[in-house]
């Protein structure tokens, strides 16, 4: 067991860190989310050029065959910079879903194109009444003459406004929460019967609700085999959940040290407020939560290749810890700043917003505690 980065990993970390520090300062980001719509193609080109988009793809699909550890390194640094482009939705969630589904033909090309930046697929899976439950799909796919007709609504499809493809899950059989009977389809912007309602999210990133009204999908655009998409979806969610934990760790780490620096300079009652013991102990608790989160990230990364029950238990355990930590670190980073912390102008509140969104993404603490109980009862 080795918890240290190897030489290549250090180089990778340095390259992401440099990008964030040099090209993604807070003012640049603010401009991007206000005026640039939350997506800069130049940034995406950098991601492609430096290999970050290909790193998690299987070699047989043109990827670099890196492990989730490399993705975690990237996500942690992106988290520090509050990077809003949909790296995780495309290069992790959609990529893993495609890879795990065993793609061929057009879908395989889409997977390969992620690495070059030519394709930006996103997974349109979540629904309002799922609230984290991966098996819950009410969107229905009905078989027609030449393919499928999809009807339903997908919510919080992060990155969809910039996507080139949508991987849409729909139920081809079974009850709404049945793991069996879920299929995955490849759709594209402009497909008939597909409406995209774009929304701005609290962390300044963009998403869409996707409304399918008898959208016609040719048979060839079924990804994998009919009714068997759950395993791929679960694997993709395990990866994405783990890697959003890595992002949260980056965000918490940065928020913590920004707050530390503020406490050393802000004067009240004739001294730096960092001298006050109650605030010192609060900071200690924040560090404890951060480091326990890091420890749990290792646990989740270690389990990603394990059997689903083992993997999901570890991932849930990590997400529980990250949720608890995100709440404490994000909330207290604002509290310790005082008034300046709640202003849109200042950076710290944006960490809070991103951390709050991460806490609620891919199942909140309540969902994952429940899943741990269910897995323990098996």
């Amino acid at each position: 067991m080795d918890f240290e980065l190897n030489h290549e990993q250090v180089l990778l970390q340095d390259s992401v860190r440099r990008f964030v520090e040099k090209q993604y300062d807070f003012d640049t980001r603010r401009k991007l989310v206000r005026e640039g719509g939350g997506f800069d193609p130049k940034h995406w080109a950098v991601f492609a050029e430096l290999g970050w988009l290909a790193i998690g793809l299987p070699e047989k699909h043109g990827g670099l065959g890196g492990s989730a550890v490399e993705l975690a390194i990237i996500l942690e640094e992106l988290g520090k910079g509050l990077v809003v482009e949909p790296f995780l939705p495309v290069a992790v969630l959609a990529a893993q879903a495609l890879a795990a589904a065993g793609v061929t033909g057009e879908a395989a090309q889409v997977l390969a194109d992620i690495g070059t930046g030519a394709a930006r697929p996103v997974l349109a899976h979540g629904e309002i009444d799922a609230l984290g439950e991966i098996a819950f799909v009410e969107t229905a796919a009905v078989r027609g003459a030449s393919g499928w007709s999809l009807t339903g609504r997908k919510s919080l499809v992060v990155g969809a406004p910039f996507a080139t493809h949508y991987l849409v899950s729909a139920r081809t059989s079974g009850a709404p929460d049945d793991p069996q009977g879920i299929s995955l389809f490849l759709l594209q912007p402009g497909d008939a019967g597909l409406e995209r309602i774009d929304v701005r999210l609290s962390d300044s990133s963009r998403a869409s609700e996707i409304v399918l009204s008898a959208a016609e999908v040719p048979a060839a655009r079924l990804i994998g085999t009919e009714g068997n998409a759950f395993a791929a979806l679960a694997a993709a969610h395990a990866h994405a959940t783990t890697l959003i934990c890595a992002e949260a760790i980056g965000a918490m780490d940065k928020a913590l040290w920004i707050t530390r620096d503020y406490l050393k300079t802000r004067q009240q009652f004739g001294q730096p407020i960092g001298n006050f013991q109650a605030l010192q102990h609060r900071m200690a608790d924040m560090l404890i939560e951060l480091e326990l989160s890091r420890a749990q990230l290792f646990g989740a990364l270690a389990a990603l290749g394990s059997a689903p029950a083992v993997r999901d238990r570890a991932v849930s355990s990590a997400k529980v810890q990250i949720g608890k930590a995100a709440r404490l670190v994000g909330g207290q980073a604002i509290q310790l700043h005082g008034g300046i912390g709640i202003t849109e102008e200042y950076v710290i509140g944006h960490y809070f917003k991103r951390l709050t969104m991460i806490n609620n993404a891919f199942g909140n603490v309540g969902y994952h505690l429940d899943r741990m109980s269910r897995l323990a009862a098996v």
Binding site: E133, F136, S202, Q268, G338, G339, T343, H350, T356
Partner: protein
């Protein structure tokens, strides 16, 4: 000891509820029930309506144009007002500077400021905090110098709620630089006086209620001093003590808790009602218990309002826990909204009523903005850290 509600209070509650039900314009209700920041036009209209009923100053004595209500009646009014979605009355004029003026100011000042205020004509902005003095008001540096029969004011004030709506400002300024608290005075300044600049502070909920104010040799007549020179701190503290029973914001917490239960009943996880999840239900019950405790402590504080022999730091207790409860409820709002909890529902254009909202249930707009803004409640008005220090030092003698 006697814990029965006074039947007179119960019929008073009915009277208030029924009046508000009939008198509150639907468009005002629609905007305010969503917890977006209050809007001056709404507040003014509602104040005028209440004024016609004689209710625009629930906490003032009859002689000063108020209702003369008991503390319990004021509390009941606040509860009903908030529950109905009516705007809060302006705290600055009603609970801060207004009473200072009628208690310590001149009759002329009362006529000049308070009487129009009762009709909704004056909107006050408070200038206490400064960039270098958040929790530490004793170190305020905004100066007022006496030059002839004028005060000349220079400095920088922060966090002025609704400063952009204000036509008058009341400032805590340093009139004696050799003293700490005892060198501060209260001075009234027209918001449009030359040298006054008011700039918005946008909060993380993307709302605008806060402002910063710059004073560059602003001149006001000597008579704009309220009460005695260098006694500003005393007045400010006197008023805060009077308001201690209201520190938990029970009306807000109650309405928000009711909203949380509504969301939890309608939200589904894996298709099943969230409220049927045992762990979630237990968290709801815990909040209900917290709310009960704060409510009964508030009732106790109302019963002892004005009793200065009661040294329990009830204001600090209610502030700490009331704000924590607001924040927890807000967190759970956002959590229970699920995917839609992440969507930005921008504040509507109050002039036109237009809004551009993403899809979601009717109750979603306003939730996220309020949740984010309310990170401030544990900071302002003496941060919760300051409150705990007050409890430990002043009451526990540590």
């Amino acid at each position: 000891m006697d814990f029965d509600f006074d039947p007179a209070d119960e019929s008073f509650r009915e009277e208030v509820r029924s009046f508000i039900h009939d008198a509150l314009p639907a468009d005002i209700r629609e905007r305010n029930v969503r917890n977006y920041h209050a809007n001056r036009a709404d507040t003014r209209r509602w104040t005028t309506i209440l004024h016609e009923r004689g209710w625009s100053a629930p906490s003032w004595p009859v002689a000063k144009g108020g209702t003369g209500w008991t503390p319990m009646q004021q509390f009941i009014f606040d509860e009903e007002n908030f529950a109905a979605g009516a705007p809060l009355l302006e705290t600055g004029g009603l609970k801060m500077i207004g009473p200072v003026i009628y208690t310590f100011g001149t009759p002329a000042q009362h006529e000049r400021f308070n009487v129009p205020f009762l009709r909704g004509e004056i909107s006050w902005g408070q200038g206490f905090s400064e960039p270098g003095a958040g929790s530490d008001l004793a170190s305020l540096t905004t100066r007022a110098e006496r030059q002839g029969d004028e005060w000349v004011i220079t400095g920088h004030k922060m966090w002025t709620t609704n400063g952009h709506y204000a036509n008058w400002l009341y400032l805590l300024v340093r009139t004696d630089p050799t003293q700490k608290q005892r060198g501060l005075s209260l001075i009234l300044v027209p918001a449009d006086a030359p040298g006054v600049t008011i700039s918005p502070i946008i909060d993380i909920g993307e709302g605008h209620s806060l402002n910063e104010m710059f004073f560059d040799e602003v001149r006001v007549p000597a008579e704009n001093l309220v009460g005695e020179e260098n006694k500003g701190w005393t007045y400010a503290k006197f008023l805060l003590d009077r308001e201690r029973a209201f520190s938990a914001e029970i009306p807000r917490n109650k309405r928000n808790f009711a909203l949380l239960k509504q969301i939890a009943r309608e939200a589904r996880r894996g298709g099943r009602p969230l409220i049927e999840d045992g762990a979630f239900a237990a968290r709801l019950a815990q909040l209900e218990s917290d709310l009960d405790g704060l409510t009964w402590m508030t009732l106790r504080a109302l019963a002892r309002q004005g009793d200065s022999s009661w040294d329990l730091p009830v204001g600090s207790i209610l502030k700490v826990r009331g704000t924590e409860l607001q924040q927890t409820i807000g967190e759970m709002h956002v959590e229970a909204l699920g995917d839609r909890g992440a969507y930005v529902y921008p504040e509507p254009d109050f002039a036109t009523g237009e809004h551009h909202w993403p899809p979601g249930p009717d109750y979603a707009p306003g939730v996220l903005a309020d949740f984010l803004y309310r990170r401030a409640v544990s900071i302002y008005g003496g941060s919760n850290e300051i409150q705990r220090t007050i409890i430990a030092r002043q009451y526990l003698g540590l």
